[in-house]
């Protein structure tokens, strides 16, 4: 019980840090996060409208960098409410029970001057899977930009009713373009 309360306390202490935009926080208004799925050969790309995160990138010491991204699963916008509602259902994201998909880095390794590989845990729908994401870094006028993509297996995270499997590919590509607050 004590540990549980301690967690709560820590969480409350952390809240103000998350709310105030600081250097290293990604700027959602300049960033994009999309998922591209394939249905009967047709590639369709749709955005997540709400996400947040923090990329503490240290170009001089890349290994010391960290990244944490949180995505609101209910914010996936397929362009029509009936489809958005479908995706929030239990069989898909189950957004009520699992409102957030989270990536948290465990180690970051430089791959040359403007590239790194972020290894970490991707948690979707309560399932955590270790993943590695190659990321390219670019300094732009708007802030530091982090670009990359990752291929996710829907089945791996239990996303989607099997009835859809002959229409919808298992593999979904998530593209991200994150810009840090300056």
């Amino acid at each position: 019980m004590i540990t549980f309360k301690l967690h709560r306390l820590l969480f409350l202490l952390l809240v103000p840090v998350v709310v105030i935009a600081a250097a290293g926080d990604i700027d959602p208004s300049k960033s994009t996060l999309t998922a591209t799925f394939k249905q009967e050969g047709v590639s369709v790309e749709n955005p997540f409208k709400k996400f947040s995160g923090h990329i503490a990138y240290d170009a001089a010491n890349v290994a010391a960098s960290t990244a944490m991204i949180e995505v609101e699963t209910a914010s996936f916008d397929m362009g029509g409410e009936e489809y958005n509602a479908e995706v929030r259902k239990k069989a898909w994201f189950d957004s009520t029970a699992f409102p957030k998909a989270i990536f948290k880095s465990t180690s970051i390794k430089a791959d040359g001057a403007s590239k790194f590989t972020a290894s970490g845990t991707l948690t979707i729908k309560g399932k955590s899977i270790d993943t590695s994401v190659p990321v390219s870094v670019q300094s732009t006028a708007r802030g530091t930009a982090f670009d990359g993509s990752i291929v996710i297996s829907r089945a791996g995270f239990g996303i989607g009713d099997p009835a859809w499997n002959d229409v919808l590919d298992d593999k979904v590509t998530v593209h991200f373009h994150f810009i840090n607050v300056k």
Binding site: Q39, E40, G41, V42, S43, V44, E45, N46, G79, E82, Y83, A85, E86, A163, W164, D166, V167, L168
Partner: protein, 183 residues
Amino acid sequence: MSTSPTNAQVERYSTTAISLHWIVAALIICAFTLGWIMTDLEVSPLKLKMFNWHKWVGITILLLVIVRLLWRLTHRPPLMLPMPVWQRIAANTLHGILYVLLLLQPLSGWVYSNAAGYPVVYLGLIPLPTLVAKNKQVADVLMERHELLGWFLLVVATLHILAGLKHHFVDGDATLKRMWFKS
């Protein structure tokens, strides 16, 4: 009815033209039926499949109508049967509108699909060029236009069918017969 010319006397359309006419007619019925049902369905794998079938049928119609126009331009259709001038003008106008609608309707569907963020992949195999970028506002307008054109096509096609039936059953001439296969 006894005054109607026999098959031998009537110059009929070429077998190619007749085949294309009836294949396109059947495909239009398919496209309409699919369009009607799929838009009322709840989100399901079947709904998505039907949308794809609808698109494939539409693109097939577009291709066949282009073939029909090319065939018509290179092969003279039979002369019109004797009929009042107003009927001749009405028939020609109706046929012209039908050709235009049969080109516009699949095109508007294709463009709408693109605007909605869905590229068209013919038969799930051949990706067609994306004609317009994804844009919700544009998609909403195009969907309305596609539906409106569909209604217009339904009206014009109905007139076309009624005129054909009138020629066959009321006038007893060979207008319909010459668009049917040799028996």
